[in-house]
Symmetry: C2
């Protein structure tokens, strides 16, 4: 409980760089379908307020085409890629669905979902079919709360090498796994 | 845009296991101070709705002692540990502050913060001093929106090996870094 002064080794960080410290969960591809058109965007910021039923809070900027689709249709699929798909993930993040059919342009395969209209991406090792269940923080923070209604995974992919955005073109690739005696779920 | 049927290799996943796929950002230690008492808890779920000013949305369960402190004082510090501190991080997650002074029990050093009352943890490579700025989703989802007011880092720690909770005692340790031509911040 002893308080010492901050050491000289502790430096102040500009607030605009904080996001590079709080490196995200796995970068995912979010698919939507609106007015007969599928789209896919790259998403980095998500967190789960509840495990069962699984709720995912996520940030979809209102600058993205997917924002309107998600707000109107209240449906999406979260697709989780591994490092093999890293180049494609970045391409999906660099361009808007307004300019390009990203499925065709980047060779992504759409599979039908079971509970929602947007497609699963076959090249991803897991896919979560979601419905929007809370929009109270959408206007202020672009923050949607989703409920996962159906989840798929590829049993052949063990210890998936997910990618994690560190900002400015830097991605951390999932490393080794350690086991500890945790009581946390 | 071609839709194929789901292959036989794609399997359904029980919804209660979804959280193990959406592996989180770095596990962090959240410090609070309430009625003259400091506490520390292990937190896994956070996401940033905004980079500047940096906003962090995070889930603090109402079963945790820290929940009441955070709701009353509206202040906390997010401390980011590396794998060196993994055993301590798990111990902090396994026990409640109601039972134990975790700073004393686990040898954590409290340093004074500059903008808030809760302490920085000296053993962590970065520390974010935060104020609660939105509580609309607290009652329903235990979801707080924080604004980072001051950020500290240890310049000696390069490429920090953060730990990432995969559930049930499994943690992924941050692996190698790759660089891609991303236009994403």
């Amino acid at each position: 409980m002893v308080r010492r002064s901050r050491k000289r080794t502790r430096r102040s960080l500009p607030l605009a760089r904080v996001y590079r410290l709080l490196e995200t969960g796995p970068v995912v591809l979010l698919t939507t379908a609106h007015r007969g058109r599928m789209n896919v965007m790259t998403m980095s910021w998500h967190a789960m307020p509840e495990f069962e039923p699984p709720l995912v809070g996520c940030v979809v900027s209102n600058r993205n085409l997917s924002f309107g689709a998600l707000r109107s249709t209240k449906e999406c699929v979260i697709n989780i890629p591994t490092v093999k798909l890293a180049e494609t993930v970045v391409k999906c993040g660099n361009i808007s669905g307004r300019c390009k059919d990203k499925f065709a342009a980047f060779g992504l395969t759409a599979l039908p979902a079971s509970q929602v209209e947007p497609p699963l991406i076959a090249e991803c090792h897991a896919n979560l079919e979601c419905r929007v269940v809370d929009t109270r923080l959408v206007t202020k923070y672009n923050f949607f709360v989703l409920e996962v209604r159906k989840a798929w995974f590829d049993p052949k992919v063990r210890a998936p090498r997910t990618i994690h955005h560190r900002g400015r073109g830097e991605f951390m690739v999932a490393g080794r796994t350690i086991r500890l005696k945790s009581r946390m779920m």
